[in-house]
Amino acid sequence: MSDVVMHVWRGDADGGQFEEYTIPKQDGEVVLDVIHRIQATEAPDLACRWNCKAGKCGSCSAEINGKPRLLCMTRIDTLPEGETITVTPMRAFPVIRDLVTDVSFNYEQARKVPAFNPPPRPEGGYRMSQIDVERGQEFRKCIECFMCQDVCHVIRDHEENKSRYAGPRFFIRYAELEMHPLDTNDRRDLVREEMGLGMCNITKCCTEVCPEHIKITDNAIIPLKERVVDADYDPIAWLGRKIRRRTKRTAAEAKVQPD
């Protein structure tokens, strides 16, 4: 069999360059297999995150020929034959070393999400119908590869937006909680005012790269935008909020963590 020629970006926060590796091709391999063989032979210190090697943990996100992909789910034989394969770290996050980036932005966003808050469990447990849980289940398929964050043009080349934009991964989290049959918190003001939902102009880049095929834009972001708008401008809802005891807590109240 022929060889695989791979250009792997190597460096750190101060800069770097491409290194070329030529490795004999093996049947059925994915890009991560080739990276592993490079580590085991030529470059034991080549940095790369990975865990499950089965598309379930979302650790090995990088960019292959410029596109965000999971290294473990990209078969070499699906890439243009005979052409050099370029592997670079995710662009939206600071490089730690080689293919490993500092994704702490995402963990900081996770801390800002007001917690799930259900009513007390009734005798015999909660009852929910399958159709109601399925909406949230779609979003809970997320493996936190953060490639939707990486590709999102609001932050991909705009570091300055990160302080006021949660990004697609967290919009599906907010959507999931918003649509959760049991949750009582209301995060709509928070999503609009502090999480930058309005900055998304639904170009669907996130949906395209999602390895779990979650319809991020259609099923999470657009419905979330509609709910946020409804909450803000619907006069009946406004009146309802004024005169009825709220069943959902507002974002400000919800920020108080549960016990």
Binding site: D12, Q26, D27, G28, E29, D33, Q39, A40, T41, P44, D45, L46, A47, C48, R49, W50, N51, C52, K53, A54, G55, K56, C57, G58, S59, M73, R75, I96, R97, D98, V100, V103, Y107, A110, R111, V113, A115, F116, P118, R121, G125, Y126, R127, M128, S129, Q130, V133, G136, Q137, R140, K141, C142, I143, E144, L177, H180, L182, D183, Q257, P258
Partner: protein, 604 residues
């Protein structure tokens, strides 16, 4: 040592899979200062790969189910080598733990009347596994992760613990670790430490386990004076992918069989009917017709033999392949395509559909999968007190895969996720109880210096072996000599070769810097891998019988006398991975009569 980053906590939890997260949540809920230390990013631990479900006798699908039946199934699956008390607590408490997850946001699949749906799995008499399609582990870890984050638990991610520190009385005082992203060291002082580091499977060539499963917890516990039990009991999951070679070992969920998939050999025969052991004959179908009736109504027929416990199925596949009736790439066929509609398959087993389509180019709604046994789980582990998860080292607790006893010689599918949440919680409670009554311990500077130097040694050697070469040799050796079928001469040879590998591991060299250097990281994993591999080979040599995850070609039957003992391993002298490991048979705890009656009733 003053320049090393240091943190004091009441409780540190090492490992952030299901057990670690659950323990941390419990301790934090008590108002203590708690840290979670993990080798990877939060949410990436091996729990994420669990597919089929979490076993809990809630009785939502079969009202006849209850904890006693679950207890009985677990003990029988483990060939009665389990610690009865762990199996009892597990069966009694897992329903509450599953319900608790719902209160933290988990969204399980539902029954028609809105309860948590439960699916069939090998060795469980009733449909018992709460699940979310075939990604239950992801749901469990994400739910616990989000709960932990909402409680503001401190998390040290990509931080590898190399050693535990102890005081003059042998109690733990803390841990020495390094940050993978920087290579800088960090020490933790802790009143209680919970080990939740998972398994050891990375020491085998064909494994469902990730790079993380290097037995760190088993090893650091033993180096700190704890005893290990049943380390010979390693589970080879019957269905791992076998082709392409690069994905060999990746798990194919047992849910495929629970949902109607069957195993066939190259003649197209459902061969599992030929492999029903006496112990399971009374409850297993005799014909395909009978087995097929069972899927829709468990009273209309007995269980299909494809749903025997994993050790039985794995051995049968192995035998078929050896007899020349295997699939083209050395496995057997797992067929669900001919038995369920394409829509059903995609809905019930979305990850499997996706995994085979993308990695093997196989459409499982149209073709059979090729599958074979893959190293999956270690039943053995750190010996613990069932109620508190306390090890023999004061202040050290262990929960989840790193702990031994719960699963005996073979674990039933679905009993791992429930193990994590039942004993994770118990470890958290006991760790908190201890921490509330103690002063903050201080770390011995000489220990810290020694452990830091030990971890950095691979950088100081001008020439030495590549750690990847050693890892590769270890994996080949364990696969060949300490695999699914074992024999005395091969085990003895393995132990000799392991000694040589240990000497060589003391001489590995790495280049580059300390910042995110996988070669160095592997060099620091090798001592754990070699320690636990030695334990497994030793146990396998001394347990001269076949029982669950221990199969001896030269002793093919279970020995009733050996069924009454655990093999307990300790380090005899010195500290660290090169010192000698002793192994002694010790009697199993005696099951009380009222529990014994559950088994006696049945044999009447």
């Amino acid at each position: 040592m003053s320049q090393i980053e240091h943190h004091d906590y009441d409780v540190i939890v090492i490992g952030a899979g299901g057990a670690g997260l659950r323990a941390a949540i419990e301790a934090k809920g008590r108002g203590l200062k708690v840290a979670l230390v993990c080798k990877s990013l939060l949410g990436k631990a091996h729990t994420v790969m669990a597919e089929g479900g979490v076993a809990a006798a809630m009785g939502n699908v079969y009202a006849e189910d209850n904890w006693k039946v679950h207890f009985r199934d677990t003990m029988r699956g483990g060939k009665m080598l389990n610690h009865w008390r762990m199996a009892q607590l597990h069966a009694q408490e897992s329903p509450d733990r599953v319900q608790e997850l719902e209160g933290w946001g988990a969204l399980f699949d539902r029954t028609k009347d809105g309860k948590i749906l439960q699916r069939d799995f090998g060795g469980h008499r009733y449909a018992r596994l709460a699940h979310v399609g075939d990604r239950t582990g992801l749901e469990l870890i994400r739910t616990l992760q989000q709960r932990a984050v909402s409680m503001d638990i401190d998390v040290f991610m990509e931080c590898k613990v190399v050693r535990l520190t102890t005081d003059n009385d042998g109690a733990v005082t803390g841990a020495v670790a390094y940050w993978r992203p920087t290579g800088e060291f960090v020490t933790f002082g802790a009143k209680s430490i919970v080990l939740a580091t998972g398994g050891v499977g990375k020491s085998w060539k064909f494994t469902s386990n990730s790079w993380e499963s290097t037995g760190d917890g088993h090893a650091i516990a033993m180096w700190a004076g704890a005893s290990l039990i049943d380390m010979e009991c390693v589970q080879f999951h019957p269905t791992g992918m076998v082709w392409p070679l690069s994905v060999r070992g990746i798990l194919v969920t047992e849910g495929v069989r629970g949902d109607g998939g069957v195993l066939r050999n190259s003649d197209g025969k459902r061969f599992m009917f030929d492999y029903v052991a006496d112990m399971f004959r009374a409850e297993t179908a005799e014909s395909e017709d009978e087995a097929d009736r069972w899927y829709d109504d468990h009273t209309a027929g007995r269980r299909p033999p494809e749903l025997l416990p994993r050790d039985e199925v794995a051995r049968s596949i192995n035998t078929e392949v050896k007899a020349g009736r295997g699939s083209p790439h050395g496995g057997v066929f797992l067929d669900i395509a001919s038995r369920r509609t394409a829509d059903d398959i995609r809905k019930r087993l979305p990850s499997m559909y996706h995994q085979f389509m993308e990695l093997a180019g196989v459409d499982i709604t149209r073709e059979a999968m090729e599958v074979g046994p893959t190293c999956h789980y270690i039943m053995g582990g750190v010996q613990v007190d069932p109620d508190t998860a306390a090890t023999s080292v004061p202040g050290l607790f262990a929960a989840g895969e790193v702990a031994g006893g719960m699963h005996g010689s073979n674990r039933l599918g679905g009993n791992s996720l429930s193990d994590l949440i039942v004993f994770g919680r118990r470890a958290g409670i006991a760790a908190a109880d201890r921490a509330e009554n103690l002063r903050q311990p201080s770390l011995s500077e000489s220990q810290v210096t020694e452990y830091v130097d030990e971890a950095l040694a691979p950088f100081t050697r001008e020439s030495g072996e590549n750690p990847y070469d050693l890892q590769h040799e270890l994996q080949e050796l364990m696969q060949a000599n300490v695999g699914i079928i074992r024999t005395e001469s091969e085990l003895v040879e393995a132990l000799e070769k392991l000694e040589v590998l240990k000497e060589r591991a003391a001489n590995v060299a790495v280049g580059g810097g300390r910042v995110y250097n996988p070669g160095w990281n592997l060099a620091t994993d090798l001592p754990s891998m070699l320690t636990v591999s030695t334990c497994t080979a030793q146990g396998a040599r001394d347990r001269r019988e076949s029982r669950g995850g221990q199969t001896r070609e030269d002793f093919p039957k279970a020995d009733p006398e050996l069924g009454k003992v655990n093999f307990v391993q300790r380090q005899s002298s010195g500290r660290g991975f090169s010192s000698e490991i002793t192994i002694t048979p010790e009697p199993l705890p005696v099951m009380p009569d009222e529990l014994m009656a559950i088994f006696e009733e049945e044999s009447k």
